[in-house]
C-alpha cells in the first residue's frame, strides 16, 4: 500500500524520508514540486498526483507536506486519513506538528513510523498502544536518558494490541480519577448584508480527557439527544446502544481523545449570536473607499461574546486603510490585503464600531467584487444548539471519579456578505 513517505517543508526541502518497502529515490518528489509550482497556493495542490511509475498522495498540514508514494490501487482516502493520523500523532507526542519538532525528535518519529505501518499497511495507529511502545519525550526523561543511557522504548511489551479494545492499555492507575468532557460547537453561517441567514448550521464535537483507573465502562446520556442529526464516533462507542437508546456507552481510551462529532439538525433554527451592520463602498472618483462596521450581540442566551475578530479580504487595489476603532485594534496588511479588527469582548451598552476611509490605487477602476467579512468569536459556558449532557455513569470500577462538562461555542466558517442576498 504505502510505499514511502517524504516530509517536505514550504521551502521545498525534503527533511525526512521513510521507506516501508524497497527504497524509492527522492527524485520522485520532483513531480510533486512541479505540481506545487503549477498550483501556486499550497491548498490547491492536488491531493493525488500521477507520475509515470507511481502515484503521489499528499496532504498539507501545519506548513508541512506529507507526500506518500503509492504503486498500486489503494483507496485514496485510506492514505489521506492515515497521513492525517500521522500528523495527529506527532502533535500528540511533541505538542506540535512542526518541522522543528520533527527534526528534534527524528529518532522517535522514525520509531513511530516503523510501528504505524508494516509493509505499507497500518499496524498500530492508536495513540494508547504507541505510547506504550514508545514513550513520548519529556524534558526530564530526555535529561535522564542522556545521563544514564536508558531508552525511550518501553521495556514492557504493549498489551492493547492483543486485546479487542486496542485503544486502551491495561493496568492504568491514577490517584485522582477524573473524567472531563468539552462540548465544543461551531457555527457555520453565511449572512447577507441585511443580516438574513442564507445558510447556517452547527457542528459540534465532544472532546474528552479521561484519567480513570482500571477498565471503566462509561455511559454518557444527553437531555436532548434528538437534536443530533448526524454523528460519528470514536471506535470505542457502541453503535447499537446509540441506535436503540441514544446514549454513548464506551470503554474510554486513556487520556485525551475525541469521543464524537455531530451535526445539529438543520431544521432547527440556528441562533446567530452576533449581528453586523456594515457598509463598505468604493468610489470611482478620487480612488478611495469607505468602511463603516458595527458589531453587536444578538441571540447570546445571556452569555458574553468574547474574542470577536473581524477579518476582511480586501480587493487588490486597496493600498491602505485609515480607520478608527471605538474598541479593540485593527491592522491592515497591504501585502496580503487582509484587514483584521480584533474587538475582544462585546459590550451591550457601547457597540464597537470601525469607521474610516480606504485609499485605492490611483487610476485603477473601482473593484467589482465585494469583500466578505469573516467573523471569529467565542462564547463560554454555552452550547448554542442547546445540547446538554444529562449524566455520566460509570460501571465496573468501584471508585468515585470527578466528572465535569464544559461548553464552548465558537464561530466556524462564519461569513457576512456585503451584497444583498437572493434568498
Amino acid at each position: 500500500m504505502i510505499h514511502s513517505l517524504f516530509l517536505i517543508n514550504n521551502a521545498g526541502d525534503i527533511f525526512l524520508e521513510k521507506h516501508w518497502k524497497s527504497v524509492i529515490s527522492r527524485s520522485v518528489c520532483d513531480y510533486f514540486f512541479e505540481a506545487q509550482d503549477k498550483a501556486g497556493e499550497p491548498d490547491n495542490v492536488s491531493p493525488v498526483i500521477r507520475t509515470p511509475h507511481h502515484y503521489l498522495i499528499n496532504i498539507y498540514r501545519e506548513k508541512i507536506f506529507f507526500v506518500s508514494v503509492i504503486q498500486t490501487e489503494v483507496p485514496p482516502l485510506f492514505v489521506i486519513e492515515f497521513l492525517h493520523r500521522v500528523a495527529e500523532m506527532f502533535q500528540d507526542y511533541f505538542g506540535e506538528c512542526s518541522e522543528v519538532a520533527i527534526k528534534d525528535n527524528v529518532v522517535i518519529v522514525y520509531e513511530l513510523l516503523e510501528e504505524m505501518l508494516d509493509n505499507g499497511f497500518p499496524l498500530a495507529t492508536e495513540s494508547n498502544i504507541l505510547k506504550e511502545l514508545i514513550k513520548p519525550p519529556t524534558i526530564l526523561r530526555s535529561m535522564v536518558n542522556t545521563i544514564t543511557g536508558s531508552s525511550n522504548v518501553g521495556e514492557t511489551l504493549p498489551t492493547g494490541q492483543l486485546s479487542t479494545i486496542p485503544w486502551r492499555r491495561a493496568g492504568v492507575k491514577y490517584t485522582n480519577n477524573e473524567a472531563y468532557f468539552d462540548v465544543v460547537e461551531e457555527i457555520d453561517a453565511i449572512l447577507d448584508k441585511s443580516g438574513t441567514t442564507v445558510f447556517a448550521e452547527i457542528q459540534g464535537v465532544i472532546d474528552a480527557c479521561v484519567k480513570l483507573s482500571g477498565m471503566p465502562d462509561l455511559t454518557l446520556s444527553f437531555m436532548n439527544p434528538r437534536l443530533l442529526d448526524d454523528v460519528s464516533f470514536h471506535p470505542c462507542v457502541r453503535f447499537k446502544r446509540w441506535e436503540s437508546e441514544r446514549v454513548l456507552s464506551f470503554i474510554p481510551p486513556d487520556g485525551n481523545f475525541r469521543l464524537m462529532s455531530y451535526h445539529v439538525n438543520a431544521q432547527n433554527l440556528v441562533a446567530i449570536p452576533v449581528y453586523v451592520r456594515q457598509n463598505i463602498n468604493f468610489f470611482e472618483t478620487g480612488s478611495s473607499g469607505r468602511v463603516d462596521i458595527t458589531v453587536g450581540p444578538k441571540q447570546t442566551m445571556g452569555k458574553t461574546v468574547e474574542n470577536v475578530i473581524v477579518t476582511i479580504h480586501m480587493p487588490k487595489v486597496v493600498l491602505s486603510a485609515n480607520l478608527t476603532a471605538t474598541q479593540g485594534t485593527y491592522t491592515y496588511d497591504p501585502v496580503t490585503k487582509i484587514l483584521v479588527w480584533d474587538i475582544g469582548k462585546l459590550n451591550q451598552q457601547k457597540l464597537p464600531n470601525l469607521k474610516g476611509s480606504l485609499s485605492l490605487q490611483s487610476g485603477a477602476p473601482k473593484p467589482e467584487e465585494n469583500p466578505s467579512l469573516n467573523i471569529d468569536l467565542k462564547i463560554q459556558q454555552l452550547a448554542i444548539s442547546g445540547l446538554k449532557v444529562n449524566r455520566l455513569d460509570m460501571y465496573v470500577e468501584k471508585y468515585k471519579p470527578f466528572k465535569g462538562v464544559k461548553y464552548v461555542t465558537k464561530a466556524g466558517k462564519f461569513q457576512v456578505l456585503t451584497v444583498p442576498s437572493h434568498v
Binding site: 497556493e41 498500486t72 509493509n119 522504548v153 445558510f199 465502562d217 470514536h234
Partner: protein
C-alpha cells in the same frame, strides 16, 4: 569515570559537528561524515549500551535525512542480538533499510531471528517474523516460507496477524511462491479473530484477488466480524466484499418494483415467468452489517460503506449514505476533494439522493479553487426544474469572485444547466449576454464560448445576440473567443446578412496578426460567405485565401488550398465542388455539454482508479451482476472441530474483551477466546439446523423450535461465562443487549405477542443482529421458498415493500373463495407515481392451483362519487404455485369508504372491496418545529381534537410511542425540543390537508393526544385509531 568523560566528549563533538553542519555546504559535509563513521563504528563496538544507543540514534537520523549509511553495515549487524530493546529496534530499522544492498552480510543476522521465532513470548515471535519477512533477500525465501507457515498456526492471534502481513512481502519478493501462499491465506481466512481478519484479507487482495472461491465459506463470518475489526481492516474487507457480492448476488434493481410491468407485453410475459426478485439473505446481511459503519470517525471507512451501498443496495436504500458523505465534506480539504469527486459521480446516477443537501455544496470564498470547481460540478449535476432558480442565483454571486479560474468554471456550469434544463435556457442566455459587457476579458471570452454552444441549439431566435457578438470582435482579444464568434457568424450568416460581410472585411485587415485558431475560422467564415453571398464577398474571400496561402503555418496553408479547390469551381476541380454548399453549410448537431464524471461509475467508487479516471496498477474490475445467481449454498459452513483457537466474534466482543488482563499472560486470554469460539460454532450449528429445516420445507412457524434449543445452549453458555468472573460488568453488557432486544422487537409490533418474552431475550443475547421479525411481510411471502431462511436475514427481504417494518396485510380474496387464487394487499406507503393523489395499494396474487391463471385484471369498479382507480396492468399469466406483486392506485377522496370492484381471471369474476384504515390516507409531511407550531396555531378550535389516555404497559417509552403512531398512520416525525412530547405530521393524499399529531406524556402512564386537522372526520377517526394503538 572514563566512560562518562568519553560520552561527554562525544556529545561535544556532536554539537561541534552540528555547528559545522549549519555552516558548510553539503559536499564538504559528506567528507566529514565519512570520517565520523569511524567514531560511530567505535561506539557500536563498545560494551556500553548507552554508546551503542547514541550511535544507532545518529545512524537512524542519517537514514531519515536520506544520507547514505551503508558502510556501517557490518558494525551495526553485530548488534542485532543486543539486550537493550531500543538498540535492537534501531538495528532492525537499519537492517530492513540496507539488507537489500548487502545481502551476504544480512544473512549473518538470520539466525537471531530464527531463534526469535521460537521464543515463548508472542510479541518476540511476532517481531522476529516481522523483521525476517521485511529483509528483501532472495536467498532466505525458503526460510521465510517456513516461518510464515509455522506462524499461521501459532497460538497467538497477534503472531498470526504478523504472518498475514508477511505474506504479501514474500509474494513481492518471489511471486513463484504464490500457490503455497494461497494455502496459507486459505488457512488464515478461516481464522475467527478480528485481529487477523483485516490483515489476511489484505494479503488475499495482494496475492490472489481472483480466487473469489476462497471467500465463500468465510463470507458470513467476515460480515459478522466486520464491526469489531480495526478501521483499516474494515476498509479492505468492505472493498473486497463489494466485489464478491457483485459476483454472487442478483442485481436488486433490475426487475424490482412495478416498472417491469409497464414495459412491452411480450417482455412482461417473459418477466412473469421469472421469479419475483428476492434478495439473497447473505446480500442483506452484508448491507445490514456495514450500515452502522457510516458513523465511523474514519473517512476511509465511511467512503468504503458508501461505495458498497452505491454498488450493491436497492435504489430505495442507497439514500442513507448521502448524509454521511455530506458529513465528510466538513473534514480536511484533501478528504473533501476525494469525497466530492465521488459525490460528483454519484449525482449523475442518483441525483435525488443529494438534493436535500444542496446547500452543503454552496461555495465559500475561502474554499481552495479545486474544491470550488468540484462543488460547482456537483451543483450542476443536482440542478433540475425545481431548484434551478436557486442554483442560478447562487451562480450569479460566484461570477463576482476574484478567483478567475473559478469564474470561468461557473460560466461553463451555467451553460450546462441551460442545455440540460430547457425552461431556463433563455434566462441563462440573457445572463451570459450581460456578461459580455463585463470588464474582465476572461469572463467575456468564456461567456462567448458558452453562448456559441447554446446558440447552436436554436439559432433562428437569437440573431440579435449574434449581432451583439459581432460587435465584440473589435474589443475582445482572447483567441478562443474570437474564433467562436467568427464561427457563429459564419454558421448563421443568413441570419445576419448585413453584418457578416463587414466582419469579414475587418478580419481580413487584421488577418496576419491573428492567432492560428482565429485564422482558421476567418477562412471558414470567408468560405461560407462566398457560398451564400458571393456577390459581396468574392474579392474579400480571395484576398483572405491569398494571405493564407503564404502563411507560416502549414495547417493554414493546407486549409486555404483545400477550400479554394472546393468553392471556386475550375476545370480541374472534380465533382466535389458541386457539393460545397452541402459540405460547409450542413446542419451541425448541437454540442452536448456533459459532465466529465459521466460513466465514471464503472470504476469502483472510492478507488484510486475512479479518482484518476484511469486504471491504476493492481485495480480489480468491479464485475457486472450475474444473470442468474450462483448457488448460495457454497456459503454454508460445516461445523469443524479442528479450529478452536478463535477469538471474539460477535458485537459484544468489545464489551467482553474487557476481562483480558496483560498480554504476557496469554493463557488466560486464550481460554477466554476458546469459550467464545465454542459459542460461535454453536451459533453456526443453529444456522445450519435452520437451513436444513428450510430445505425440508417446514412450515413458516418453524423458527420456534431451533430457537428454544438455542436458548438452552446459550443460557448454559451464559452461566459459564459468569462463572469466569465477569461480575457486574457482565450484567451491564447483558442489560445492554436486553434493551436492544426490547426496542428491536417493538419495531415489529405484531411480533411481540407471538413470541414469549424469555425466548426473545435469550436469543438476543446470542445474536447481535436484529431478531428474526415475524412481521406480516414475511408471512406474506411464506410460500416463497427462498425467503424462508434462517433468522439472521428474515427482515425486509422484499424490495417492493417499503423498508418500514410495520406494513400490515389485509386479505382481499381468501384461497378457498378464490378457488385456489389467494389475493392479499397492503398499503405500501410508497408514493404512487402515476398520480400523487392516489394511495398506492400493493397486491399480491398467489396461484395455489395446479393450473395457470390467466389474464388477471380489474373490471367494473363501483366507486363513490369522486373516487378514482388506477388499475394495475393486466397480468397475462400466473403459473401454478407462483406469486406476483402489482401496485394499483386508489383515490379515496380522503374518506374511509370502500372501493369496490371485480377481480377477474380468464374464467371467474370475484367481487372484492378495499377499505383503507384512516391512517393510510395520508403521506408524511416534513415540517420543522417552528412550522409545526405555526400550522398548529392555525388549526385550533373545531379542528383540534384532544383526548386523555393511559399508555399501555409496553408503550411507556418514547421510542415505542413513535413506533406505534407511525405504524398506525403514515406520518413523519417532527423534531421537538422537549423530551415529553412527540410530534408527527402528514398530509392527506387526496386533498393535501395537513394532519398534525402531538402526544404529550404526563407523569406516570398518563398522556395527552392531540390531533389537528382541517378534515374533522379524519381527525376524529385518527384519534380513535391512535388511541387504540397506544393503550394496548
Amino acid at each position: 569515570l572514563h566512560s562518562a568523560s568519553q560520552s561527554e566528549l562525544i556529545t561535544s563533538t556532536e554539537s561541534c559537528f552540528r555547528h559545522l553542519h549549519s555552516l558548510l555546504p553539503d559536499d564538504f559535509l559528506n567528507i566529514i561524515t565519512l570520517d565520523l563513521h569511524d567514531d560511530l563504528k567505535e561506539m557500536l563496538d563498545s560494551n556500553k549500551d548507552s554508546l551503542k544507543l547514541e550511535a544507532m540514534k545518529r545512524i537512524v537520523a542519517m537514514i531519515a535525512r536520506g544520507k547514505n549509511a551503508s558502510d556501517l553495515f557490518p558494525a551495526v549487524v553485530k548488534n542485532v542480538a543486543c539486550k537493550n530493546i531500543e538498540v535492537k529496534k534501531l538495528v532492525y530499522v537499519y537492517l530492513v533499510r540496507y539488507a537489500e544492498e548487502q545481502q551476504d552480510l544480512a544473512l549473518l543476522s538470520i539466525s537471531t531471528f530464527q531463534r526469535g521465532l521460537k521464543d515463548p513470548n508472542q510479541l518476540i515471535r511476532a517481531s522476529a517474523l516481522r523483521v525476517l519477512s521485511s529483509i528483501r533477500v532472495t536467498i532466505i525465501v525458503p526460510i521465510m516460507m517456513l516461518a510464515i507457515k509455522e506462524a499461521a498456526s501459532d497460538m497467538s492471534p497477534y503472531v498470526r496477524k504478523t504472518a498475514a502481513h508477511a505474506i504479501p512481502k514474500l509474494y513481492s519478493l518471489d511471486p513463484e511462491q504464490k500457490d503455497q501462499l494461497i494455502e496459507v491465506i486459505e488457512k488464515l481466512l478461516a481464522d475467527k479473530t478480528t485481529l487477523v481478519a483485516g490483515s489476511v484479507v489484505m494479503a488475499f487482495e495482494e496475492v490472489c484477488p481472483e480466487r473469489i472461491d476462497l471467500i465463500h465459506k468465510n463470507y458470513r463470518k467476515l460480515c459478522n466480524l466486520l464491526i469489531d475489526v480495526e478501521e483499516w481492516g474494515q476498509v479492505v474487507i468492505i472493498n473486497m466484499l463489494t466485489r464478491y457480492a457483485r459476483t454472487q448476488f442478483l442485481n436488486p434493481n433490475i426487475n424490482g418494483g412495478e416498472k417491469a410491468f409497464y414495459e412491452k407485453k411480450a417482455e412482461a410475459a417473459a418477466l412473469a415467468k421469472r421469479k419475483p426478485y428476492v434478495m439473497d439473505p447473505d446480500h442483506r446481511l452484508l448491507l445490514r452489517n456495514t450500515k452502522p459503519l457510516l458513523q465511523s470517525r474514519n473517512a476511509a471507512v465511511v467512503m468504503a460503506v458508501a461505495q458498497l451501498y452505491f454498488h450493491l443496495a436497492p435504489k430505495a436504500e442507497v439514500g442513507v449514505i448521502a448524509k454521511a458523505l455530506v458529513r465528510l465534506m466538513r473534514s480536511h480539504s484533501e478528504v473533501q476533494y476525494v469525497v466530492l469527486q465521488n459525490v460528483a459521480t454519484m449525482t449523475i446516477k442518483r441525483r435525488g439522493m443529494f438534493e436535500p443537501y444542496l446547500k452543503s455544496f454552496y461555495i465559500r470564498s475561502t474554499d481552495p479553487t479545486q474544491i470550488k470547481i468540484l462543488k460547482l460540478e456537483v451543483l450542476t449535476n443536482l440542478a433540475n426544474e425545481t431548484n434551478i432558480s436557486t442554483i442560478l442565483r447562487e451562480f450569479q454571486t460566484y461570477i463576482k469572485s476574484m478567483d478567475k479560474d473559478f469564474v470561468a468554471a461557473t460560466i461553463q456550469a451555467i451553460g450546462r444547466c441551460a442545455t440540460n434544463i430547457g425552461e431556463v435556457r433563455d434566462t441563462c442566455l440573457n445572463g451570459l449576454v450581460q456578461l459580455l459587457s463585463n470588464r474582465d476579458e476572461l469572463v467575456v471570452a468564456e461567456s462567448v464560448v458558452v453562448i456559441k454552444k447554446l446558440l447552436q441549439m436554436q439559432p433562428e431566435q437569437h440573431s440579435d445576440i449574434i449581432k451583439h457578438m459581432a460587435k465584440l470582435t473589435d474589443n475582445i482579444q482572447v483567441p478562443m473567443a474570437r474564433a467562436s464568434i467568427l464561427w457563429l457568424i459564419g454558421e448563421y450568416c443568413e441570419h445576419v446578412p448585413k453584418i457578416a460581410p463587414d466582419v469579414l472585411r475587418k478580419m481580413a485587415k487584421t488577418f496576419t496578426n491573428e492567432e492560428d485558431i482565429v485564422k482558421l475560422q476567418i477562412i471558414n467564415l470567408a468560405a461560407k460567405l462566398y457560398l451564400t453571398n458571393s456577390k459581396q464577398t468574392k474579392l474579400l474571400t480571395q484576398y483572405v485565401l491569398n494571405l493564407a496561402k503564404y502563411d507560416q503555418n502549414y495547417d493554414i496553408r493546407d486549409r486555404a488550398r483545400f477550400i479554394r479547390q472546393l468553392i471556386v469551381p475550375t476545370d480541374k476541380s472534380g465533382a466535389l465542388s458541386k457539393y460545397a454548399k452541402k459540405l460547409f453549410l450542413a446542419l451541425k448537431p448541437a454540442p452536448v455539454l456533459e459532465s466529465p464524471f459521466k460513466d465514471r461509475d464503472h470504476f469502483q467508487l472510492g478507488s484510486l482508479s475512479h479518482l484518476l479516471n484511469a486504471k491504476a496498477g493492481g485495480y480489480q474490475e468491479l464485475p457486472d451482476w450475474p444473470e442468474s445467481a450462483p448457488d448460495p449454498s457454497v456459503r454454508n459452513v460445516e461445523v469443524k472441530d479442528s479450529v478452536r483457537a478463535g477469538g471474539t466474534v460477535t458485537l459484544r466482543g468489545r464489551a467482553l474483551g474487557l476481562s483480558e488482563e496483560s498480554g504476557s499472560g496469554s493463557e488466560s486470554e486464550e481460554s477466554e477466546e476458546e469459550s467464545e469460539s465454542e459459542e460461535e460454532e454453536e451459533e453456526e450449528e443453529d444456522e445450519e439446523e435452520e437451513r436444513a429445516k428450510k430445505k425440508k420445507k417446514v412450515d413458516k412457524s418453524k423458527p420456534k423450535k431451533p430457537e428454544s434449543a438455542e436458548s438452552d445452549q446459550s443460557s448454559g453458555e451464559e452461566q459459564k461465562r459468569i462463572r469466569k468472573g465477569g461480575k457486574d460488568r457482565r450484567s451491564g453488557t447483558e442489560s445492554e443487549s436486553e434493551d436492544e432486544s426490547e426496542s428491536e422487537s417493538s419495531e415489529s409490533e405484531s411480533e411481540s405477542e407471538e413470541e414469549s418474552e424469555s425466548d426473545t431475550d435469550i436469543k438476543k443475547k446470542k445474536k447481535p443482529t436484529p431478531s428474526p421479525q415475524v412481521t406480516p411481510v414475511n408471512s406474506f411471502l411464506s410460500n416463497s421458498l427462498v425467503t424462508d431462511l434462517e433468522g439472521l436475514s428474515l427482515t425486509d427481504t422484499v424490495l417492493t415493500i417499503a423498508p418500514s417494518s410495520s406494513v400490515r396485510l389485509y386479505e382481499l380474496l381468501h384461497r378457498i373463495t378464490g378457488e385456489g387464487l389467494a389475493v392479499e394487499y397492503c398499503f405500501s406507503r410508497q408514493p404512487f407515481s402515476p398520480d400523487p393523489h392516489m394511495v398506492a395499494v400493493q397486491i399480491q396474487f398467489t396461484n395455489n392451483t395446479t393450473s395457470e391463471a390467466k389474464s388477471l385484471h380489474i373490471e367494473e369498479p363501483k366507486l363513490q362519487s369522486g373516487m378514482r382507480i388506477k388499475e394495475f396492468p393486466e397480468i397475462e399469466v400466473l403459473p401454478a404455485g407462483e406469486s406476483v406483486n402489482v401496485v394499483m392506485g386508489i383515490d379515496f377522496c380522503d374518506s374511509t369508504q370502500a372501493a369496490n370492484f371485480q377481480l377477474c381471471t380468464h374464467i371467474r369474476k370475484f367481487f372484492v372491496s378495499i377499505q383503507p384504515p384512516v391512517g393510510e390516507l395520508m403521506t408524511p409531511a416534513f415540517l420543522t418545529e417552528n412550522e409545526f407550531k405555526k400550522e398548529q396555531g392555525q388549526l385550533m378550535g373545531m379542528n383540534e381534537i384532544s383526548e386523555k389516555l393511559t399508555l399501555g404497559e409496553k408503550c411507556q417509552s418514547e421510542h415505542v410511542i413513535v413506533e406505534r403512531v407511525t405504524s398506525t398512520a403514515n406520518l413523519s416525525r417532527v423534531p421537538c425540543g422537549s423530551d415529553k412530547e412527540s410530534r408527527f405530521a402528514g398530509k392527506t393524499v387526496s386533498s393535501g390537508s395537513l394532519v398534525l399529531v402531538t402526544v404529550t406524556r404526563k407523569d406516570g402512564a398518563g398522556a395527552l393526544l392531540t390531533v389537528n386537522c382541517e378534515k374533522m372526520v379524519i381527525g376524529t377517526m385518527l384519534v380513535k385509531d391512535i388511541l387504540q394503538a397506544l393503550t394496548q
